[in-house]
């Protein structure tokens, strides 16, 4: 565990909060996996197991006014950002009490209240959008940051290149957060990029960057502080590579033929929750009952979320096409 000396927030409370958020995501998703087998949740479900430290390390560093753009593997991001777990779970069920009215499901969590701009299921599709959110900020002279999360697989898409160039060229306040979990579905990084050192991509566009151990929530938080600070002050983009690993299947339909069990096992030893918890315990910062208390709180929250989702209602079929367009017609001419 890296603990930089200059950490202002490294209080016990703060560390408990980090731990709790990671556990919250993990257990929420474990419940989702279970609900998936029970067919309460359908469609694609992409779990964040092993990668929780990234969202937990980065997102709380952002301000309320900042924007977030995420991918289809975004439950963790939404939860940490403060989208209520009830609304997220109802969304996973497809109920109209969900954070996207039930229409988006797992891959399309949206929440205007927290500037959570989705949930994008097109790999790389969120990158130009993030550039645009930052462009708006730039033009209005605001100082909000737009954080854009994406996998290393997205780096091969043309949109990555165009977005990095635009953000750097126009000096836009985008924080690019690459969640490098070494695989894009079944495609290992070495089969996807001729240059496998992802952080180097930033230099190609003259974007400042840092790579960080994506399994170390404290290191990520420290790096995120530097990154967000740099973007907020310089009004320029910044690239943060978080080196992590996906411990589970890509989605619920994945036999994982493309990697060895041993590789997964080796990574499981580095996984961020146990690692952080063990470190906290061995440094006597927390105690066993802190963890059980957290788990109990989280479990209660999950139970409530499931109950909320179960009690939720289906959007009437008659509303199917509502909001394909805005309901308020444009004002008449002149």
């Amino acid at each position: 565990m890296t603990v930089p000396a200059d950490k202002p927030h490294l209080s016990r409370e703060h560390m408990l909060a980090l731990l709790k958020q990671m556990i919250r995501i993990r257990r929420f998703e474990e419940k989702c996996a279970e609900l998936y087998t029970r067919e309460k949740i359908r469609g694609f479900l992409h779990l964040y197991d092993g990668e929780e430290a990234v969202a937990v390390g980065v997102i709380p560093v952002l301000d309320q006014r900042d924007h977030i753009v995420a991918t289809y593997r975004e439950h963790g991001h939404a939860l940490v950002r403060g989208v209520p777990m009830t609304a997220v779970m109802a969304e996973m069920y497809g109920k109209q009490e969900g954070c996207s009215r039930g229409r988006g499901g797992s891959m399309h969590l949206f929440d205007a209240a927290t500037n959570f701009h989705g949930g994008n299921a097109i790999v790389g599709g969120g990158l130009p959008l993030a550039v645009g959110l930052a462009l708006a900020e730039h033009m209005r002279g605001g100082d909000a940051v737009t954080a854009c999360f994406f996998g290393e697989g997205a780096v091969a898409e043309g949109e990555f290149h165009e977005s990095m160039n635009l953000a750097a060229l126009w000096q836009l306040p985008v924080l690019f957060v690459c969640e490098n979990n070494l695989y894009a579905m079944g495609t290992a990084l070495a089969l996807s990029e001729s240059e496998t050192d992802i952080e180097r991509k930033a230099a190609c566009y003259r974007i400042a960057s840092e790579a960080v151990d994506g399994m170390d929530v404290v290191a990520i938080e420290a790096a995120a502080r530097r990154a967000v600070h740099a973007v907020r002050e310089s009004r320029k983009p910044y690239f943060l590579e978080c080196r992590t690993y996906r411990l589970r299947a890509h989605s619920m339909f994945d036999a994982q033929l493309y990697r060895d069990k041993a590789e997964v096992e080796a990574w499981r030893h580095k996984e961020p929750i146990i690692r952080f918890q063990t470190w906290l315990e061995s440094n006597h910062i927390i105690h066993a009952d802190d963890v059980s208390r957290i788990q109990a709180e989280v479990d209660a929250e999950i139970t409530e979320a499931v109950a909320f989702a179960e009690a939720g209602t289906w959007e009437p079929v008659g509303e199917l096409t509502r909001f394909t367009y805005a309901e308020s017609a444009p004002p008449p001419a002149r």
Binding site: P128, A130, G132, E162, F323, P330, P332, A333
Partner: protein, 335 residues
């Protein structure tokens, strides 16, 4: 009242100037509005629509972009989502294919799939159409294709009034609006009221009333269709010409009212024939006014071929007045 007798002062202008005036007006009216696209600034716009605007508004409001259609169109969508009112210019519809993922998968879906939390009030302008001998990769008319996409609106200004007036209304729309400007219209000149301004975008216009047949069209083909109507008149056939103006949504009411009157229709559309917008309109007429038809519906579209370079072959590829005349006469059984 006195005002009724005062004729609006008219000015000589062109479609290009009218489009420019619309942009200028919008930027002045609303500080959230800006123009972005390839060569809109220093170059003056590939069809010179934005010439002079950089000097007037500066490089933030008239933003030159790199050759990154997906990137900057997506950026326009994002900026719109964040409350700005970007006018994104994609040089021509041919290059918009590179930006289609952003348009279809993001702009068109966000409002619905976010449960109405986010909207995308972007306006995307592009040139469309053949006629300048630019060959197979620069002559597409894909506006009808775009009209297939729920979540966006599609406009096709054919007149000076609409070139001047549709933009502001599109910018006021909370949803993405695509505006297609036919390349052959930019040089079209005529008179326009000096105080011309925004126009509605939800009604088709009857550009020539008539009784014998409805000729339904839009954009660059409007003028060829009006020419055809003049020829038909010389042969005693009184054609009604409808300018759709909005391709999505379509103004079914105006179309059906015309067909109910004339009982015959020909649709003219510069898209390739199979899967053309003309097919959609024909099908709607069949669905909504079948029993009022006295004859099969005709259509004049582009030939199903990548548009070739030589003038004579390009001309033969796309709708022309004589073909429209022939189609109308065929429907009237006078071929």
């Amino acid at each position: 009242m006195k005002q009724e007798t005062v004729k609006a002062q008219m000015i000589e202008t062109t479609y290009r100037e009218a489009a420019k005036e619309a942009i200028r007006d919008a930027i002045k009216r609303d500080e959230r509005v800006f123009l972005m696209g390839e060569d809109v600034g220093r170059y003056g716009g590939c069809y010179a629509v934005s010439k002079g605007l950089l000097a007037e508004f500066g490089p933030e409001k008239i933003r030159d972009t790199p050759l990154s259609e997906s990137g900057f169109t997506g950026a326009g969508i994002g900026a719109a989502m964040a409350g700005m009112r970007p006018i994104v210019e994609v040089m021509t519809v041919n290059f918009s294919l590179l930006a289609l993922d952003q348009i279809l998968n993001t702009a068109a879906t966000v409002r619905h799939m976010s449960g109405n939390q986010f909207g995308v009030p972007v306006v995307i302008r592009m040139a469309t159409g053949a006629g300048r001998q630019l060959a197979a990769q620069h002559s597409h008319s894909l506006e009808g294709w775009y009209a297939h996409i729920p979540g966006i609106k599609v406009l096709a200004p054919a007149t000076l009034e609409d070139a001047r007036g549709m933009l502001w209304t599109a910018l006021e729309d909370p949803d993405p609006v695509l505006i297609f400007e036919n390349v052959m219209l930019y040089n079209m000149s005529g008179t326009l009221a000096a105080d011309a301004g925004p126009v509605d975008i939800d009604k088709a216009a009857v550009r020539r009333p008539g009784h014998d047949i409805s000729l339904i069209t839009y954009g660059g083909s409007l003028w060829k269709t009006l020419e055809a109507a003049t020829s038909l008149a010389a042969e005693g056939i009184d054609a009604e010409v409808i300018d759709l103006r909005s391709l999505r949504p379509l103004d079914d009411a105006t179309i059906m009212a015309s067909v109910a009157k004339t009982r015959r229709a020909v649709i003219v559309d510069e898209g390739w024939r199979s899967g053309s917008l003309a097919a959609e309109i024909g099908m709607r007429i069949v669905e909504q006014a079948f029993w009022e038809l006295d004859a099969p519906i005709g259509r004049v579209c582009s030939e199903e071929v990548p548009i070739p370079y030589p003038r004579h072959l390009e001309n033969a590829s796309i709708p022309q007045a004589p073909k429209i005349v022939a189609a109308a006469k065929a429907v009237l059984g006078r071929a």
